[in-house]
């Protein structure tokens, strides 16, 4: 599992911005071409380094949003108004610009078809990004691993890749299901969940413990703490619950 992370030296590389895409009012995706990119596993992240004219530098980590695809890598960045790096990535970068990065990084919060399932993916806000990479890789490889994604967003407009996820879920025989909960604002006629992820929701949407799902939970700290604790209390094996916690801690 960690093989690819330990084979390649983590050197800084110059990536070219191929395209920028506004996903939602707060999220921008950057499609990058990274010469020499060694490939990645869904769930891994990369480090970005910005350098000002006077030599001042700032580094941050971003989850990779795309499935492995040669030297192409996409990241999806949430613009944090008081941040230092995310406003640049999400607001200043244009197609054709260059960006220094290195990776891939992280060998635990990763999934590939050989790890099996069934999969339970639980996302809060921007925490969906590494899980999108898993869902995209699963679809791209034709994996039949039964997968359920539970995704909490403030509103439908804040939900990343909503159409894409719905399309994956509608594909006959794909074994992929997505459940949204919109915590602050719901679209007209919405009959789905409208509250934060709680034990009842995890029981209804998730797999029974007897199915021994592999769970990946990513989002803000409080949400990840609550979901991971609940899964263990429901009877899931703690070693099959993998967590990644992030949120606006400085972006």
């Amino acid at each position: 599992m960690a093989g690819r992370t330990v084979l390649e030296r983590l050197t800084w590389r110059l990536a070219r911005v191929v395209a920028t895409r506004a996903e939602t009012p707060r999220f921008v995706s950057l499609d990058l071409e990274v010469p020499g990119w060694p490939g990645h596993l869904p769930g891994q992240h990369l480090d970005v380094r910005l350098t000002a004219e006077d030599g001042y530098q700032a580094q941050r980590s971003y989850s990779i949003a795309s499935a492995p695809a040669g030297e192409r890598v996409a990241i999806t960045v949430e613009r944090l108004d008081d941040g230092e790096v995310s406003p640049y990535l999400a607001g200043d970068l244009r197609a054709g610009d260059l960006l220094e990065l290195r990776g891939p990084i992280g060998g635990y919060f990763v999934w590939e078809p050989s790890l099996g399932g069934p999969l339970l993916l639980v996302a809060g806000g921007s925490g969906v990004v590494p899980l999108l990479a898993m869902a995209r890789h699963r679809a791209a490889t034709g994996s039949q691993v039964p997968t359920r994604l539970l995704y909490s967003s403030r509103s439908a407009a804040d939900a990343l890749a909503r159409d894409e996820l719905d399309r994956l879920a509608r594909t006959d025989g794909s074994g992929f299901a997505v459940t949204h909960t919109f915590t602050r604002e719901q679209p007209p006629g919405w009959t789905g969940y409208r509250r934060r992820i709680d034990p009842a929701m995890l029981e209804e949407v998730g797999w029974p413990p007897a199915a021994r799902p592999l769970a990946y939970v990513c989002g803000p700290t409080r949400m990840v703490e609550a979901v991971a604790t609940t899964l263990v209390e429901l009877g899931h094996d703690p070693v099959r619950v993998r967590t990644e916690r992030f949120g606006p801690t400085g972006g």
């Binding site: 350098t51 220094e100 635990y108 700290t221 703490e225």
Partner: protein
């Protein structure tokens, strides 16, 4: 269009980037390269926070020691207390200044266990299965603690409570949460993150983040 490898490009400038978080002069010497100052205390863990019964809790020092030890919660808290005040650095780029942790010096624990002369390294292990490795030199000489208080209050479970290792001169993944023991070895044995691409030693001032740094 093929781009040159970054290593061959000197003086790369990020077009239009000016930087908003330049450090004041008095802090410049306290923040390692590539880090930024974070006022909060982010939580990063690979799995669920384990539930630990204090009645069952033990801290053991085992392996290459003359007198293997196992302290209960009451026993370890009766040892001479020691407080660390200073800065901590996470490999995910945040540095938190002026933290205060209270517990016991690892020196006190090692003194009781009497490491054998051939002991050179240790593996810290945790409730929940986490491990991390350190040279004994990084655990002794007033550089490491087992702590149960943060800023005067009991250490919260998500931050490693009831007790965590504290090795503030290394990246914070070495400060194992939910720690339950040290095993002394005559060789190095990479732990959890050290086996998953992170640096074996983790000195933030040398920016030892990943295995090849």
């Amino acid at each position: 269009m093929r781009l040159p490898e970054a290593a061959l490009v000197s003086g790369f400038i990020s077009r239009g980037f000016r930087g908003r978080r330049r450090l004041p002069e008095d802090l410049a010497g306290r923040v390692p390269p590539g880090q930024y100052v974070e006022p909060g205390f982010p939580v990063l863990s690979a799995g669920p926070t384990p539930r630990i019964d204090l009645a069952e809790w033990r801290f053991r020092v085992a392996g290459l020691v003359a007198r293997p030890q196992a302290w209960t919660w009451e026993e370890i808290r009766a040892l001479p207390p020691s407080t660390f005040t200073g800065d901590i650095h996470c490999v995910t780029k945040w540095t938190k200044l002026d933290t205060t942790f209270t517990g016991v010096s690892v020196d006190t624990l090692l003194d009781a266990a009497e490491p054998l002369p051939e002991a050179s390294h240790a593996v810290a292990s945790s409730y929940g299965g986490y491990t991390t490795n350190l040279p004994l030199d990084d655990l002794s000489g007033g550089k490491a603690w087992v702590v149960w208080e943060f800023d005067g209050a009991p250490l919260a479970p998500e931050h490693g409570g009831p007790a965590r290792l504290l090795v503030p001169h290394l990246y914070f993944w070495k400060s194992a949460k939910w720690v339950m023991g040290l095993r002394l070895l005559d060789h190095d044995a990479p732990g959890f993150w050290e086996s998953l691409g992170y640096h074996n030693h983790g000195d933030p001032w040398l920016e030892e983040r990943y295995w090849s740094d």
